[in-house]
């Protein structure tokens, strides 16, 4: 093999991906050829530089964020088997509960009175309220 053929094998040579015979041939050539040795040295230098690049660390809570996202995703997908009507009802009930929790005594600065709902269509609030009671029983 001439120098050009030898250098083409350097990448595989340094990665230990050549058969023993070819590897031996290259080793022998390198002993008598400073140019090829220099070339190989350049390759090794490249590897050292790439390997020495500063490593990037994930942000501190990365692992826990990924795990939570996976758990959330699996909860959503397990809910996918529930019929649409039931999921809709569940969502509506959650909203109604949130509305009625506003009127609970001692619920903090967000407590409101029913007067604020005077412009709602008549009976709409009582409908939600009684549906909620029905659901609770």
């Amino acid at each position: 093999m001439n120098c050009s053929q030898i250098t083409r094998k350097f990448s595989a040579y340094m990665d230990d991906e050549l058969d023993a015979a070819t590897s031996h041939l290259i080793k022998e050539h390198l002993e008598g050829c400073p140019e090829c040795l220099e070339f190989l040295h350049g390759f090794r230098e490249v590897d050292n530089l790439v390997h020495g690049l500063p490593k990037i660390d994930p942000s501190g809570d990365f692992a826990s964020r990924v795990v939570s996202a996976a758990i959330r995703a699996s909860d959503v997908s397990s809910g996918a088997g529930v019929p649409f009507a039931s999921r809709l009802k569940r969502a509506v009930m959650r909203v109604s509960e949130a509305i009625f929790s506003l009127f609970e005594p001692g619920a903090g600065p967000y407590t409101r009175t029913l007067d604020e709902f005077n412009d709602c269509p008549p009976l709409s609030l009582s409908f939600i309220y009684f549906t909620l009671l029905e659901q609770a029983n």
């Binding site: 990448s11 230098e45 590897d47 994930p58």
Partner: protein, 180 residues
């Protein structure tokens, strides 16, 4: 040889969140670094790494042990990185114009050895200009110490192609760095 990760994947497939957490902790750094260097951008790399890990979580029940788990994981990561690179290519920018002119540089094979210089920035800039398959092959070889067979499976190419990709990557890097 038993793949140490296959028990983890089995457990994840059965919905074991702790097993998933172990896998995340084991692979978050290698994946983040591989993705960041392959796409050449740290800011998006964490989001893509998360997407890769979530894909693994969802696909774990269907994992078939035809390859090592790490090969499968890096295969998903490589594909996600390529998707991101494709998106970026559409938005062609100044950097790419710069890189193309670098690639057209004349070949000087047997010349002076590398001189020491501001190496980290240079190597990152030059690495960023390699075609993505060369870059990925080089990163998997140097940082993850993977065999040509494993890299071939990840990139979906032949072992001969891996050898050629690595040779070209090292030759370009050597040549560009030598010029500085």
């Amino acid at each position: 040889m038993v793949d140490p990760d296959s028990a983890l994947i089995d457990a994840i497939g059965r919905g074991d969140h702790e097993a998933f957490e172990s896998l995340v902790k084991r692979y978050q750094c290698p994946l983040l670094n591989f993705i960041a260097r392959t796409i050449g951008d740290r800011s998006m790399a964490e989001d893509i790494t998360q997407e890769v890990l979530l894909r693994i979580y969802r696909a774990a029940p269907r994992f078939q042990a035809k390859t090592k788990v790490s090969t499968w994981i890096f295969h998903i990561a490589y594909n996600q990185a390529l998707t991101e690179i494709g998106r970026r290519k559409k938005r062609r920018n100044l950097w790419q114009a710069l890189c193309r002119s670098r690639e057209e540089a004349p070949e000087e094979l047997l010349a002076d050895p590398l001189e020491p210089y501001e190496q980290t920035e240079e190597i990152m800039a030059v690495l960023g200009c390699l075609p993505e398959n060369q870059k990925a092959a080089l990163l998997l070889r140097i940082n993850e110490n993977l065999s040509y067979r494993e890299i071939a499976d990840i990139l979906e190419v032949s072992v001969q192609s891996v050898e050629s990709l690595l040779f070209r990557a090292r030759t370009s890097l050597r040549r560009q760095l030598k010029k500085k």
